[in-house]
């Protein structure tokens, strides 16, 4: 009897050992499989992302010659210079202002357009196409198009302004207006994308929720506030995050419309990096700015996730 139970215990022990070994083997196997599947993207990321990033961080601690090779190690000096330079601080300031001007307006306008384009009306497909069409226009083409609109003497905008009896505005040359003009251009260009994403989000809300609300006697705005916005919140969250990141990285329209002028008013951070590196050949200082930008975007995104996600209803 006792021998039998002893045997049983032993048997159980050895079984457990076998189980453990098998489990370990399976773990290793699945790890290798995972690595195999990931290897293409790891490779690509390393070549095009991780290596340049490390290189940038490395460069930011050096002075360089015109060809970009390091000359003198300066430690934190590049960073210290940055934060004492009025030009860089101005650039930071402009960037934040730009984000503030563009993101809320873009999201609100495209949300509004998406909501009205989501109604079941005749010919709504036409408006959906129109609203999302700016997505298909390249930054360069759009900028040139706006360049004409902004033209001080024969631009369409000034024609309107003058027709209304006001003085012509130097849209791209007046320091008070340049950042606003750039913002308007950017908003116009981003609306197509955000509109499309938000419309997709709206269409994925089940119609039975609205039917149920109809029967409950809910009005249009009650439904908008209690159903549409909460159900859309994951999409809104995504759109806001992406728009903010995009705004921080704005480059093309500035290069074409203002080249950072007038009086560095539109010298947003990415443009400033570009100028530092490829006009002034200060690769060290440019790298430092790039690192600052990276940390900034990382922080913004982290903050958003921390505070935004609580309000988001994932299904």
């Amino acid at each position: 009897m006792s021998i039998a139970s002893d045997l049983a215990v032993q048997n159980q022990d050895s079984m457990e050992l076998v189980f453990k070994q098998v489990r370990k083997k399976q773990k290793i196997k699945s790890f290798i499989k995972g690595i195999l599947f990931l290897s293409p993207s790891i490779l690509l990321f390393s070549v095009f992302l991780f290596y340049p990033m490390l290189r940038t961080i490395y460069l930011s601690f050096f002075l360089t010659d015109a060809s970009g090779s390091t000359t003198v190690f300066v430690g934190w000096q590049n960073y210290i210079n940055l934060f004492t330079s009025p030009v860089f601080l101005k650039s930071m300031m402009s960037t934040f202002l730009f984000v503030l001007y563009t993101v809320p307006v873009t999201v609100i306008i495209s949300l509004f357009l998406a909501v009205i384009a989501n109604e079941k009306l005749k010919g709504v497909g036409f408006f959906r196409t129109i609203y999302s069409s700016s997505m298909g226009i390249s930054v360069a083409a759009a900028s040139v198009f706006w360049l004409y609109l902004f033209n001080p003497s024969m631009g369409f905008l000034n024609m309107i302004v003058e027709a209304l009896g006001f003085e012509a505005i130097g849209w791209l040359t007046d320091p008070a207006w340049a950042l606003v003009s750039i913002s308007i251009t950017t908003i116009w260009m981003n609306i197509g994308f955000t509109f499309l994403i938000l419309l997709g989000g709206l269409q994925s809300i089940d119609s039975y929720l609205y039917e149920s609300a109809d029967i409950d006697g809910a009005g249009y705005f009650y439904k908008l506030r209690r159903i549409t916005i909460p159900m859309l919140s994951p999409t809104l969250f995504f759109v806001i995050t992406v728009t903010i990141i995009n705004a921080f990285q704005t480059f093309g329209q500035i290069d074409i419309l203002t080249q950072g002028g007038p009086a560095n008013e539109t010298n947003l951070i990415v443009y400033s990096i570009y100028r530092e590196a490829f006009v002034n050949y200060q690769f060290g200082s440019a790298s430092a700015q790039a690192v600052v930008l990276f940390i900034l975007i990382l922080l913004m995104t982290a903050i958003q996730f921390k505070f935004g996600e609580r309000k988001v209803h994932y299904q």
Binding site: L209, S212, D216, R226, H313
Partner: protein
């Protein structure tokens, strides 16, 4: 008093094929009215038209004697339980239940009052702060019910509310819904494709097929006197046994499917039955077990199902598969030839061409409906 009245209601989605064809019916106040039919017969469409979620192509819909064809859902003063519950996934149970009251700007005090009452009635008091995804199917079901109860609308529409539940929960909810409806005096229009639900819950049943009313009546009437072959085969479980039949030339025998002769009294055969193609039907429980002396037929068993308190047997009758349901446990094997008793007074007669009922079983009415 008529709560809901439909007059020649027609619906077509694409202006070609009619999904519903000239539906006319009236539903009394406080009635439990069941709409039953196979998938795609137009039950949901009809319900959604009554709710105002779907346009009425043609016809008149009256609620409380007022024409409401043009009214939006919220002005029809009704509540609806959707097939998939339609709970708001981002709101808690409490917010879900109060959604409609807040929309209608009911006072805070009354909201809380009604919430407490309803939650208690539905057994949801403990779950008020949960989100729908944290509930089981049955609990979601109860939230959906609570949402319609809390509105205190006199007319309640339900679209297959029990279709996602397991058998036991379903049986439970059947009783609960029925009890609730009686207690609150609701007028209920209840859609289902489950004929057991229809039979057990309804005051009256309407059988719908392909957008056409097949029959409206009390459950027992539908069971005993199915208006046509469709109702005969749809209502009842197992379905009514049907077979093509012909009289012998002297009208002393009715031969079913060419293989099953049944003795007749030639005098009882009415003229109406003589010159049509006949289909006859008999309920499974009317094929009795026969003793040696009173057996009318010996049939070979092709399948046996033991259900505990009753046994169902299947036979091949010509091309048809017939079933018999006998109370008790019978030790019978497949392949046995067993004596059965089939008598003429349990037969329903249908016209094979028009599929209409010609004559219902005569035995059914006198014997089986026990009035108390």
């Amino acid at each position: 008093m008529e709560q809901v009245e439909l007059i020649d209601i027609t619906k077509s989605y694409d202006k070609q094929k009619k999904v519903l064809n000239e539906i006319s019916l009236s539903i009394e106040k406080g009635e439990f009215f069941v709409l039953v039919g196979p998938s795609g017969s137009g039950k949901s469409t009809l319900l959604r038209m009554i709710a105002g979620l779907e346009d009425i192509t043609d016809g008149t819909l009256k609620i409380n004697d007022k024409v409401v064809n043009h009214l939006p859902p919220k002005e029809r003063n009704l509540s609806m339980v959707f097939q998939n519950y339609a709970l708001y996934p981002h709101l808690t149970v409490e917010q879900n239940i109060l959604f409609g009251l807040k929309a209608k700007k009911v006072s805070k005090v009354e909201q809380q009052e009604r919430l407490r009452e309803t939650a208690e009635m539905m057994g949801l008091s403990e779950l008020l702060s949960r989100k729908p995804r944290e509930l089981s199917g049955g609990q979601r079901q109860r939230v959906a019910l609570a949402r319609s109860v809390v509105s205190q609308a006199p007319l309640c529409l339900m679209d297959e509310p029990l279709s996602n539940l397991d058998a036991k929960l379903r049986a439970n909810m059947r009783v609960e819904i029925r009890r609730l409806q009686k207690r609150l005096g609701l007028t209920m229009i209840y859609v289902t494709h489950d004929q057991v639900e229809a039979m057990t819950m309804g005051d009256r049943i309407m059988v719908l097929n392909d957008g056409i009313i097949q029959q409206i009546g009390k459950p027992i009437t539908l069971y005993n006197e199915p208006a046509n072959l469709f109702v005969a085969s749809f209502i009842g479980s197992p379905k009514m046994n049907l077979g093509k039949a012909k009289f012998s030339t002297d009208y002393k025998q009715l031969i079913i499917e060419g293989v099953l002769p049944i003795e007749m009294d030639p005098l009882s055969v009415s003229e109406r039955l003589k010159d049509v193609n006949l289909t006859v039907g008999i309920r499974a429980e009317h094929i009795f077990s026969g003793m040696e002396e009173n057996a009318t037929h010996y049939l070979e068993v092709v399948n046996v199902e033991h259900l505990g308190n009753e046994t169902t047997l299947a036979f091949d009758i010509g091309t048809e598969l017939w079933t018999a349901k006998w109370p008790g446990q019978w030790m019978i094997n497949v392949g046995d030839k067993i004596p059965v008793r089939i008598s003429v007074e349990h037969l329903c007669y249908f016209d094979s061409d028009s599929e209409e009922l010609l004559k219902a079983a005569t035995a059914g009415k006198s014997q089986e409906v026990v009035a108390i």
